[in-house]
């Protein structure tokens, strides 16, 4: 019950601050772009668009979400409530993934994606990975500029190998690299089981780290250890 309320609250929060409106507009724009591209380009273009935007929105927005919660003193209330860090992290991950999955499904349908379930799994895994990374960074920063700068290495490390892999110009061993596994799933090209295991292990590790960081942020709210 508590988790459901938190999840709904997060979704309302995102709706109030225009996430759904923004992604509605961006989806329309991306659709226009996909429609105007030659048929042979559509699938790869859709995979890049999905991986770099709706799937990665957690990384882009998490800094602003956490900083706004801090400035509104919401984190202080979380600290004294029975809410656990795991519930907080799960609510963030699921609420942001929901938008990502919705947008990705529309774009994939427009591009004639070969396998919708595979694409949705890939988008979900990417979204979880990027949102958790966003939470890890957001709990340690004090300004938006700091956050934006800190996300640049993650973006380079995740996007460059994945896009090179999509075009088949990345070294073969990188097919086990989690962002590349996600890209394979999004593009509907099959995947390696070892890669999927690596991805799950990385996500688990990020979950644990994100929960610890959130807990640390809560107990040190206001600069005093509670």
């Amino acid at each position: 019950m508590r988790f459901r309320h938190l999840l709904l609250w997060d979704m309302r929060f995102q709706a109030r601050y225009g996430f759904y409106l923004l992604y509605g507009f961006l989806t329309a724009l991306y659709l226009l772009l996909l429609v105007s591209l030659p048929q042979s380009w559509k699938k790869n273009a859709a995979a890049i668009l999905i991986f770099s935007d709706p799937a990665a929105m957690g990384l882009f927005f998490m800094g602003a979400i956490v900083l706004l919660e801090k400035s509104q003193r919401v984190t202080s209330f979380f600290a004294v409530s029975p809410l656990s860090a795991l519930e907080y992290v799960c609510a963030k991950v699921l609420s942001l993934s929901a938008i990502g999955l919705l947008v990705a499904a529309v774009l994939a349908a427009a591009a004639g994606c070969p396998s919708l379930p595979s694409m949705l799994v890939g988008t979900f895994l990417s979204s979880v990975f990027f949102t958790l990374t966003g939470i890890l960074i957001a709990t340690k920063i004090t300004s938006l500029n700091q956050f934006l700068l800190a996300t640049v290495p993650v973006e380079i490390l995740a996007f460059v190998p994945a896009i090179l892999h999509l075009f088949g110009i990345a070294p073969a061993f990188l097919r086990f690299f989690p962002p590349n596994v996600c890209m394979d799933l999004i593009a509907g090209r099959g995947f390696s089981v070892i890669g999927l295991v690596f991805t799950a292990a990385l996500i688990l590790l990020l979950f644990v780290a994100a929960c610890r960081c959130v807990m640390k942020m809560w107990i040190s709210a206001g600069g005093v250890k509670l």
Binding site: G18, L26, F61, L67, S71, S143, L144, N145, L149
Partner: protein, 237 residues
């Protein structure tokens, strides 16, 4: 003027603490290097491997337009983020009632970064350009690019009421730069649907090789700034 200068240096200090100043200094150089060396190299490699005719070189002018938009967008975006932080912390209203005043605050946060972006773009464009550019063209691209950066800042600060909305607006506002692509790919008169975008005229000027489009570009930018000025004054009250 002293208050404005001090306010600007205060912002630089804040940005330097976040190491964003270093990033802002390096980013134009990295982007310029990637465009000047990376794009022709990628084109050469592609032609060698596929044997197909050139597909990027007809659009080198477009890369020059993007380069002239990147530095101002980055400078003004950083300043807009500082303004949003100051608004969330209620510092902006305190600054506005000091000797700095509301207009001084706006000039120090939007005007000075745009001026700096103009200088940096005008210095780097002759180094990193892909197409032959006259002094007039360099000044045209630097000026219109910087004013586009001002519009980006104004949009972020006026439409959004906090950091989170600011990030959402940033995502949308940065699409303004894509107007430069329209004259290359959409035939007239349909392309004129996007004539309200300054970048449209920048793209058109590069495609047709005439600086006459400076006038409609400046008119479009003036229109945007005029429309956004009152909401900005209200937002900074």
């Amino acid at each position: 003027m002293k208050a404005i200068r001090l306010s600007f240096f205060h912002m630089l200090k804040l940005v330097r603490q976040d190491r964003m100043l270093l990033a802002a200094g390096l980013a134009p150089l990295l982007a310029g290097t990637a465009i000047h060396f990376g794009v022709p190299f990628a084109e050469k490699i592609r032609i060698r491997f596929t044997g197909l005719p050139a597909i990027l070189s007809p659009y080198y002018g477009l890369f020059d337009v993007f380069f002239s938009s990147i530095t101002p967008a980055m400078f003004c975006f950083i300043a807009a983020m500082v303004m949003l932080e100051e608004r969330d912390d209620h510092i902006d209203r305190y600054l506005s009632v000091t000797g700095l005043g509301r207009n001084g605050y706006i000039v120090s946060r939007i005007g000075f970064p745009a001026l700096a972006a103009f200088g940096v773009t005008a210095m780097l464009l002759p180094v990193f350009h892909l197409t032959p550019l006259s002094v007039g063209a360099i000044l045209f691209l630097s000026l219109t690019g910087s004013l586009q950066g001002v519009i980006l800042s104004l949009l972020i600060v006026t439409i959004s009421s906090n950091k989170l909305e600011g990030m959402a607006v940033t995502k949308l506002a940065s699409l303004m730069m894509l107007g430069a692509v329209i004259p290359y790919f959409v035939p007239a008169p349909f392309s004129f649907v996007c004539s309200f975008l300054p970048s449209f005229w920048m793209g058109k000027a590069m495609m047709e090789g005439t600086l006459l489009y400076l006038l409609p570009s400046l008119a479009a930018e003036g229109g945007w700034i005029a429309v956004l000025w009152n909401p900005l004054c209200k937002a900074c009250r």
